[in-house]
């Protein structure tokens, strides 16, 4: 899956967020702003998003890496790195 483009990766992430929080206005999220707070994603929602991402991308995120997922770009960077590693 290393060939996934960044755009495709972003689409997958947004898809997973919308499955949990269909009302989320991901496009108007200011870059660099913590996405969970802005989109009102609680801990339970967050775990469900990670489960969905793991299903789709095969990347399982250990808790010790959660701090890298604070911004949407951070999350996408992280997935990209894990997929190409």
């Amino acid at each position: 899956m290393a060939h996934l483009s960044r755009d495709t990766l972003r689409e997958t992430v947004v898809d997973c967020i919308l499955a949990v929080a269909p009302e989320a206005d991901v496009d108007s999220l200011p870059p660099g702003r913590p996405w969970r707070e802005a989109l009102e994603i609680d801990s339970f929602d967050f775990l469900n998003i990670l489960v969905d991402l793991e299903k789709r991308l095969g990347v399982s995120v250990p808790e010790s890496d959660y701090h890298e997922l604070a911004t949407l770009d951070g999350l996408i960077d992280y997935l990209e790195r894990r997929l190409t590693a």
Binding site: A19, P22, D42, D45, E63
Partner: protein, 584 residues
């Protein structure tokens, strides 16, 4: 599961060192002497006990609140400073002409202003309601109107997201004071709190306060109808103080971390009032749950007493104990948990991860403080709620045909958990719903709505709720509030909401929906309904799952049968369906 034995040495070093003698020697009158009271014959005010009495001399230089910001900021607020800041807020209320007894609501994350506003409003004699910031506009509007909120303290971003659109429905609201958390222009109809505080005097003499004067209004959900506003009075602080000593082993000088948000009763009684009343240092973390961050806080802030919740413990358990064990917690002395029954595995996991068992305790919004607990000095029977606190009489009751109650006849027999009335933090009414309040009491007992049993050794065990209430992540959610929000969607004909068991958060809110003719039960509509509910209710209350069905089971009188929906969801026998409406 195996009993966790406490050694005599462990027991000797705790505040409550011998349970039977502590109970025998205790009286609430004695507990009142542990507090100062207002100078002269001024009565009793929570904010005086929590802040002002610790604010002078050397004691005033101790840290009251150690605030940890989401992005790494830190702020230490000393008792002296907290007394001044809360005095400034009380003066702001005075200058705005806010009367004593008026409703002051707070809607904010765990920011320092939330704490100084709660304490300042208590000084002023206002009735304080912190709301959970993950509530959506509907729960906010319902509660602010029920509680006749005249003042709202919030942030600019929360105001824009959740309040601006419902502002004209908030009938009693006069003043909105905002903390700026973005760089946009101040929303219309709001005033910035910071400059008002700066301009106000840092001195405020708390007016005489009757111990029975209303202080806090906490909302709790009902199975039917609107949420209930449980009203607490200033002398609740007698119970906050005493129960924190007994059930949390909390003392002056402790570094105490209560992970609950003040939007729920735990986060106010034990996340603000109790630890301050003891002169402890309160750790406040602005960020949401993050296991790694929590381990770091426990270690680096040298937390000595930690009060958390089963959902958080189970989330940490998912990650394994290795991460917890990679740090050291030499200062940590006691761990407690509340919100829902702590499973035996979690009690033991505490030992594995932190070297300390986790002590479950039980109480409700209505009780204002901890009522039943596993004490530091007492053997733990994992899975049990523990034993009643000194000063608290608890019993398992059965209901009699004549409307009365009696104690169950045998050990381990299930019945409704009840408390003998008369402790200081007992709620004094459901605001504007005296009849609903009175229905909670029979023959001098407060009926909790929880089913329990008591074992031969006197430990109480939680069995379940006597009603349809949902316990999600430790918070009580009323199905009716969720159903009402979904009913507003034009495609929805009927809704039934249940708690679906979940291994991590206890129960998740699940909604079953039947559609009006002309709407297709497809994925697009399901998602639309999910988003619709989240926007109105916020993630803390909105359903996490929605299932569309052709029709929902109703009783002959037309009530949707939540219990049957739940039985079907769980694959359980459906029981007596004789009152069920025949299928359409």
């Amino acid at each position: 599961m195996e009993i966790l034995r406490k050694s005599r040495r462990e027991a000797r070093e705790t505040v409550l060192d011998d349970y039977p003698s502590a109970c025998a020697g205790f009286s609430w009158d004695e507990a009142r002497t542990w507090l100062d009271g207002l100078p002269g014959e001024g009565g009793l005010n929570i904010a005086h006990e929590a802040v002002d009495r610790h604010a002078t001399g050397e004691a005033g230089e101790r840290t009251a609140i150690r605030w940890l910001g989401k992005a790494g900021a830190r702020r230490e607020i000393r008792y002296r400073e907290l007394a001044e800041l809360s005095a400034r807020f009380a003066n702001v209320l005075g200058e705005l002409g806010v009367a004593r007894g008026a409703g002051v609501f707070l809607l904010a994350g765990r920011i320092p202003e939330l704490y100084l506003a709660v304490l300042g409003a208590l000084k002023h004699g206002a009735v304080v309601t912190p709301l959970f910031s993950a509530f959506g506009p509907e729960p906010i509007a319902t509660r602010m109107n029920l509680g006749e909120g005249r003042v709202l303290v919030t942030t600019t971003s929360l105001y824009r997201r959740k309040v601006a659109a419902i502002r004209d429905r908030l009938e009693s609201l006069e003043h909105v004071l905002v903390v700026r958390d973005d760089d946009q222009a101040l929303p219309e109809g709001t005033r910035e709190l910071g400059p008002l505080l700066d301009a106000a005097s840092p001195e405020y003499a708390i007016p005489a306060t009757d111990p029975e004067q209303p202080a806090l209004l906490h909302f709790t959900s009902g199975t039917t109808g609107t949420p209930k506003g449980a009203l607490h009075v200033h002398q609740a602080v007698v119970a906050h103080h005493a129960t924190a000593r007994f059930a949390l082993d909390l003392r002056a000088g402790d570094v105490f971390w209560c992970t609950a948000d003040p939007g729920w009763v735990t986060g106010t009684s034990y996340g603000i009032i109790a630890p301050l009343s003891l002169g402890a240092t309160l750790v406040v973390d602005e960020a949401e749950f993050d296991a790694e961050r929590w381990y770091r806080i426990l270690e680096e802030e040298a937390v000595s007493v930690w009060y958390t919740a089963p959902t958080a413990v189970r989330m940490m358990m998912k990650g394994g104990s290795e991460r917890a064990r990679s740090r050291a917690y030499p200062s940590l002395r006691f761990i407690a948990s509340v919100g829902e029954p702590l499973n035996p595995q979690a009690v033991h996991w505490g030992v594995e991860a932190f070297g300390l068992p986790i002590h479950d305790n039980w109480w409700q919004t209505e009780t204002g403080g901890i009522m039943i607990a596993n004490f530091a000095c007492m053997d733990i029977r994992p899975g049990a709620m523990g034993k009643p606190l000194p000063g608290i009489e608890a019993a398992v009751l059965r209901h009699l045909p004549d409307g009365g109650v009696a104690r169950v006849d045998h050990h381990d027999e299930e019945g409704e958990l009840a408390l003998r009335v008369g402790w200081p933090s007992m709620f004094r009414t459901y605001l504007h719903e005296e009849a609903r309040y009175r229905r909670c009491f029979v023959d001098g007992w407060y009926l909790t709505g929880d089913l329990a049993r008591r074992d031969p050794e006197g430990y109480f065990w939680f069995v379940g709720r006597a009603d349809d209430m949902i316990k999600s992540a430790g918070h009580l959610i009323g199905p009716f509030e969720v159903e009402s929000a979904l009913m507003e969607h034009p495609a929805v004909a009927e809704v039934g909401v249940i708690g679906k068991p979940d291994p991590v958060i206890g129960e998740i809110v699940k909604a079953f929906v039947a559609l009006k003719p002309g709407h297709a039960p497809d994925e697009a509509l399901r998602r639309e309904l999910l988003g619709f509910a989240r926007q109105r209710l916020g993630p803390a209350v909105a359903p996490k799952e929605i299932e569309i069905q052709a029709s929902l089971p109703r009783t002959r009188s037309g009530k949707i049968m939540r219990r049957l929906l739940k039985a079907r969801e769980l694959g359980l026998p459906e029981g007596d369906t004789s009152t069920l409406e025949t299928s359409r």
